[in-house]
């Protein structure tokens, strides 16, 4: 990954485990396929992120 960052000149973003991202998906995409699905507000989304220990500036929406 560092080689890709060096090659592209991008700064490092956020690194999370695959397990964390899978578990986040279970919350984040819950109900997504239903007609009545409502997108989360920024506050609700940040709460979802925090439940999976994803916090800080990278995960801030508001």
């Amino acid at each position: 990954m560092q080689a890709w960052l060096d090659e592209t000149g991008h700064g490092r973003g956020y690194t999370a485990s695959t397990q964390t991202m899978y578990e986040l998906s279970q919350d984040w995409y819950a109900g997504r396929m239903e007609v009545g699905w409502e997108p989360p507000t920024s506050e609700e989304a940040e709460a979802i992120f925090r439940r999976h220990r994803l916090a800080g500036e990278f995960w801030r929406l508001g």
């Binding site: 690194t15 695959t18 397990q19 396929m33 699905w37 990278f58």
Partner: protein
């Protein structure tokens, strides 16, 4: 979203989860009796609201976590597979549809069994959450 837009959005997901390889106004309209122009308008509204992303010719490009176009990332369950937008989305498709494999470029394979991803791995996200939709294709 209007009630019609909600129905269109849900139909997109039903089609992609069912393995459709292309979703556009014509595919959405087929067998449903919907007006193609109304569906096209609904697709535009959904894209403007960041509920989906469209290609330049109006095809559904993204209905997260599904990709409407082939990508290097796939979710595989048995003999069925789905296009994903990225590694996270490949795992997310499995979270919606069941245990299987998330596959990516370079022979990347993560197996999900009973809620556990193996082998352990890392996903790097370059774009901060508040900028995800600034350029969703780049994200």
């Amino acid at each position: 979203m209007t009630p019609f837009e909600r129905n269109v959005r849900a139909r997109i997901y039903t089609l992609l989860a069912g393995g459709a390889r292309r979703v556009d106004a014509a595919v959405l309209t087929a067998g449903f009796g919907w007006d193609t122009d109304e569906v096209t308008s609904a697709l535009q509204s959904l894209a403007e609201e960041h509920r989906i992303a469209l290609t330049e010719d109006g095809e559904v490009w993204m209905a997260h976590p599904f990709s409407g176009i082939p990508t290097p990332y796939r979710a595989v369950i048995g003999d069925r597979s789905w296009n994903a937008n990225c590694a996270w989305d490949a795992l997310a498709i499995l979270s919606l549809l069941g245990d299987g494999e998330a596959r990516g470029p370079g022979g990347l394979v993560w197996t999900v069994t009973g809620g556990t991803v193996s082998p352990e791995g890392l996903i790097h996200l370059l774009v901060p959450a508040r900028l995800f939709w600034e350029d969703i294709g780049f994200t």
